[in-house]
């Protein structure tokens, strides 16, 4: 079997995003996420893709016509550590039972049936992308029959997270084998959030593939590109020697999800980088 060369990644264009929340709903439907009475209880609800509202109204310079709002779709950023060829996401090294691991495609997997619910990974995650199942989901009436059969319903007391809809990839691989395609690198797929986006703001593809819309070297050169709470990116071009020095002493998350925005205030909010 051919070696996997894919490295799945995502680019979210916040200039195109209207904040409609279709990605959030599509994700919850696709991954059988439980519905509770009070889903506004943020630490206890279960959601893989969170829509964060950010405004610049705390900024003293932003007066009435300049106050702006943006919505950031935040899912698991699929961190890879400093060296993408030898990935070290922050959540994987803390798991005592290897319930979370990095696949050949760079996607960080999470197996709820192996999870013991210690929640170390939730603490280690820099993006709060992992959620804990506090209660067993209850479904009203015949709602359970409408669940996605490809995804198992996680039990109470386990950790769950976004895995870039890896079950869709498995399904596409089966389809390819049925057509006689045995090369694993020939199979592509689209996660539920990317296919649900009405403005095509969420692009999904292979970061290593030059023909894909999310080819990583191209995205890194884009002046609009910014990564969530990843201030070290600014040093990569501004001060390469300092960048080298810092990456030697510390493992940075190096996420595979890029955000594109042309608004400076939003860039500052997302990257967490201060010019001071």
């Amino acid at each position: 079997m051919a070696k996997m060369t894919r490295r799945w990644g995502m680019v979210i264009d916040l200039d195109k995003c209207t904040g409609c929340g279709a990605c959030n709903i599509a994700c919850a439907q696709e991954n059988n996420l439980p519905i509770f009475k009070d889903d506004s209880d943020v630490p206890k609800r279960v959601t893989f893709l969170d829509l964060i509202e950010v405004t610049n109204d705390k900024d003293p310079k932003a007066q009435y016509p300049d106050v702006k709002v943006a919505y950031i779709p935040k899912m698991c950023q699929q961190c890879s550590g400093n060296d993408p060829n030898n990935p070290h996401p922050p959540c994987v090294s803390v798991c005592p039972v290897v319930a979370t691991d990095v696949g050949e495609d760079g996607v960080v997997s999470q197996i709820w049936s192996r999870c013991i619910g210690c929640r170390y990974c939730q603490v280690a995650c820099p993006y709060e992308a992992r959620v804990f199942h506090w209660w067993k989901p209850r479904y009203e009436g015949s709602f359970k029959e409408s669940l996605n059969p490809d995804v198992s319903i996680a039990s109470r007391g386990t950790m769950v997270k976004c895995t870039f809809c890896s079950h869709i990839w498995k399904r596409e691989r089966d389809k390819a084998i049925a057509q006689g395609i045995t090369d694993i690198n020939a199979v592509t797929y689209t996660p539920a959030c990317a296919s649900a986006c009405p403005t095509n703001a969420i692009l999904f593809g292979d970061l290593n593939d030059p023909s894909s819309p999310v080819y990583e070297p191209k995205i890194q050169k884009d002046p609009r590109a910014v990564r969530l709470v990843h201030s070290i990116d600014e040093l990569r071009t501004k001060d390469p020697s300092e960048y080298e020095k810092r990456t030697k002493i510390k493992e940075y998350p190096n996420p595979k999800v890029y955000y594109l925005t042309s608004q400076q205030w939003l860039r500052d909010k997302i990257s967490g980088f201060k010019n001071s």
Partner: protein, 172 residues
């Protein structure tokens, strides 16, 4: 003598606990693997594979075009060969509609397992039906042949077929 008795009494709760938990896990496994599957039609695999020449399992247990395993055949599949207008087949199929599945599957995977037949059977892999389902083609009754499929069995086969044994290959 008294020492032996107190020694035995000390271990008695552990033995009882182990025995009860064994029964509980046994029942749970039986439930998960659907040991009490309903088989309303008597079916003889051997006559179908030898006398009628249906030597390939895929004639009745086929794949869908998207690679999904179609599972146990419906009565409609039986009626492709058995003429439903004949007198003796009419008696046999009485009470079964075209889409009825008069039998349930013994070999069910639990919800948390993603298993694809086509990935191990067709993708340059050479898994055999026999290795998981037992010698079903030679059976003359609908009784269960092979026991439970534990995860270790899957992993042994994965090692032999050079498929990754990472958790995420089967679990999500």
């Amino acid at each position: 003598m008294k020492g032996t008795r107190s020694f035995l009494l000390f271990f008695l709760p552990f033995v009882i606990f182990a025995y009860i938990s064994f029964i509980v896990f046994q029942q749970a496994c039986d439930y998960a693997m659907n040991v009490q599957a309903k088989k309303l039609l008597p079916f003889n695999h051997r006559t179908h594979t030898t006398t009628y020449g249906a030597s390939d399992c895929e004639i009745c247990h086929s794949y869908d075009s998207n690679g999904r395993f179609n599972g146990i055949p419906t009565v409609a599949v039986c009626k492709q060969c058995h003429d439903p207008n004949k007198a003796n087949t009419q008696v046999f199929f009485a009470g079964f509609g075209d889409n009825d599945k008069p039998w349930e599957s013994f070999a069910q995977q639990p919800d948390l397992v993603y298993f694809s037949h086509i990935a191990v059977m067709k993708n340059e892999k050479k898994a055999q039906c026999i290795s998981c389902h037992g010698d079903k083609g030679n059976s003359t009754t609908t009784a269960k042949i092979k026991g439970k499929m534990a995860m270790g069995t899957c992993m042994d086969c994965h090692t032999a077929l050079k498929i990754s044994n990472a958790c995420t290959v089967c679990h999500d």
